[in-house]
């Protein structure tokens, strides 16, 4: 039985207790980006630091991926493909982050609704490890 591994090192702090996405923040102008990178595209400084991002935001826009993506690069299940939601979540005062959504029901998605960060398995890799990625789901209380 394999173990659980993150889809990419450095993208988020899972499996920490209160896992967050890791972005970067510019020490000069305060611009926040995701994933973390050196160099600030807003003010062109190279003075940035890591920043753990908020885990609740609002749905800025969304779509539903209705057909199986080409593989590669897609690594998810294609044999039993089910449409999945994709959206941008606006993390207040920080950045808008693109993510898979846990629902693909167009009637359950509304621009402006509150969304919470989740971590869930996406696929099993060649070594039998369960690969964990991040997604956002509609918040319980709207």
């Amino acid at each position: 039985m394999g173990t659980q591994v993150p889809i990419q090192e450095g993208l988020f702090t899972w499996p920490s207790e209160d896992p967050r996405l890791i972005g970067s923040e510019c020490n000069q102008c305060g611009a926040v980006l995701f994933p973390a990178q050196s160099g600030c595209p807003k003010c062109a400084s190279d003075d940035t630091k890591h920043r753990e991002l908020g885990k609740r935001g609002s749905l800025w826009t969304w779509t539903i991926q209705g057909f199986p993506p080409k593989a590669p690069p897609y690594a998810g299940d294609l044999e039993n493909f089910e449409p999945f939601g994709v959206g941008y979540i606006e993390l207040p005062g920080e950045v808008k982050v693109e993510a898979r959504l846990t629902t693909a029901d167009k009637d359950a998605l509304k621009i402006g609704m509150e969304m919470d960060l989740q971590f869930l398995p996406l696929y099993v890799d060649d070594d039998g490890n369960e690969v964990i990625t991040f997604a956002f789901s509609p918040a319980q209380e709207q």
């Binding site: 889809i7 990419q8 993208l11 972005g23 611009a31 926040v32 980006l33 995701f34 994933p35 595209p41 807003k42 800025w60 826009t61 969304w62 779509t63 539903i64 991926q65 209705g66 057909f67 993506p69 080409k70 590669p72 690069p73 897609y74 690594a75 998810g76 999945f84 994709v86 959206g87 941008y88 606006e90 993390l91 005062g93 920080e94 950045v95 808008k96 982050v97 693109e98 993510a99 898979r100 167009k106 621009i111 996406l122 696929y123 690969v131 990625t133």
Partner: protein
């Protein structure tokens, strides 16, 4: 209006769609020969070339078929703006005074299905593609979904854009999809990326276009109907824009590169949107044509709903858009797409567009391309 320094004196095109018997490069060569014949010149007369394809090899290898004349040939690679960038470069080469006569070439040949995105080349981590986020179609769905809610654009207006494209293409022998499709069928086709259905998206395709450019004061040597290039501008994204293939967007909302390229082109030409008689606007999908109408300055945000419902962008309408069927009906051979728009405008301004000719003698025409990772190219042509 500023005095144009560059003219288009010859145009050539290989039909778009699927041509299994010809490679992408052969389609490019075909387009070049057509353009040479149109201007009544030979390949040896051409002093320089800018050419590009995204998926069909290096353009400069064409000289092995066209003739080893030793000309300056520069390859261009700039995503969906490859053709536009070749034209921009050729335009500047002539405007600078370096040469009198040159050619801009774009061609391509893509595999079937949605574009396969190379996340490494795009500077994105592997996780992005593995997650199922590396699809250009998702961006288009998300951009128009938000826009429709903000500006009250209906699903019916999206369908009208597609229906118009296929209707216009019916009269374009170089187009790929020439069968009109009713709006209901467009709305009911497979939902690929909400709110966009199968018939609201263009597909990767094949084709080639070549445009011969000359100094404006020498244009009459080659043609009785020179079409002047009043402006060509290319811009990339700035902070706050919302672009295709973005794991993140800035918290601040800003304008995209289309707004910037459009403003720059109008400034160079000394014109405004009110001077334009017809336009070819990037319509990777139906929503793009709607949003690009406003981003290029041809209407206010939200006005498109009325424009679509009243048929204002039809060939016989107040402001005809995508008269050759656009990307929706021609498909998108990435390297050639922007030059196809210019080719169509040259035909329209010459009065040679046949059954799809815009009435009342159009004098000024506009093109706009948009592509990853956030670039736009605009041209303004006049006769």
């Amino acid at each position: 209006m500023s005095t144009p320094e560059v003219a288009i004196v010859g145009i050539g095109m290989h039909p778009f769609g699927r041509t299994p018997e010809r490679s992408g490069q052969e389609q490019g060569v075909y387009a070049v020969r057509k353009a040479l014949a149109d201007a009544g010149i030979e390949w040896k007369d051409v002093q320089f070339a800018f050419g590009g394809s995204a998926a069909a090899g290096a353009a400069d290898t064409m000289v092995s078929k066209l003739g080893l004349t030793g000309l300056q040939f520069i390859n261009v690679a700039n995503g969906c703006a490859t053709g536009g960038s070749a034209l921009f470069s050729a335009y500047n080469t002539i405007a600078s005074g370096a040469y009198d006569l040159g050619i801009a070439i774009g061609y391509d040949k893509h595999e079937r299905g949605a574009f396969r995105v190379n996340t490494k080349a795009g500077g994105l981590g592997d996780w992005y593609g593995k997650n199922g986020l590396a699809l250009t179609t998702q961006f288009f769905g998300m951009k128009i979904n938000r826009y429709m809610q903000q500006h009250d654009i209906s699903h019916s207006s999206l369908a009208k854009v597609s229906a118009k494209a296929f209707r216009n293409a019916e009269h374009n022998e170089n187009a790929w999809r020439r069968q009109p499709i009713p709006e209901e069928q467009i709305l009911e086709s497979d939902m690929l990326s909400y709110p966009l259905t199968k018939f609201m998206f263009c597909s990767p395709a094949e084709g080639g276009v070549a445009l011969l450019l000359a100094r404006a004061d020498k244009a009459h040597k080659y043609t009785d109907t020179p079409i002047y290039l009043n402006a060509a501008a290319v811009r990339s994204r700035r902070w706050g824009s919302f672009e295709v293939m973005s794991p993140w967007i800035a918290i601040d909302d800003g304008v995209g590169p289309t707004v910037d390229a459009s403003k720059a082109a109008f400034e160079i030409a000394g014109m405004g949107p009110e001077d334009i008689d017809l336009a070819q606007l990037q319509d990777t999908e139906a929503g793009a044509e709607i949003m690009h109408l406003a981003e290029n300055g041809f209407c206010e945000h939200g006005e498109q709903e009325r424009m679509m419902q009243q048929g204002e962008t039809e060939i016989g309408g107040r402001f005809p858009v995508n008269t050759d069927g656009g990307c929706l009906a021609n498909g998108e051979p990435v390297g050639a797409s922007g030059l196809r728009q210019v080719y169509e405008n040259v035909l329209q301004l010459r009065g040679q567009a046949g059954k799809r000719q815009v009435p009342n003698d159009p004098k000024v025409a506009y093109t706009h391309v948009y592509g990853a990772p956030g670039i736009s190219g605009v041209t303004i042509l006049s006769r």
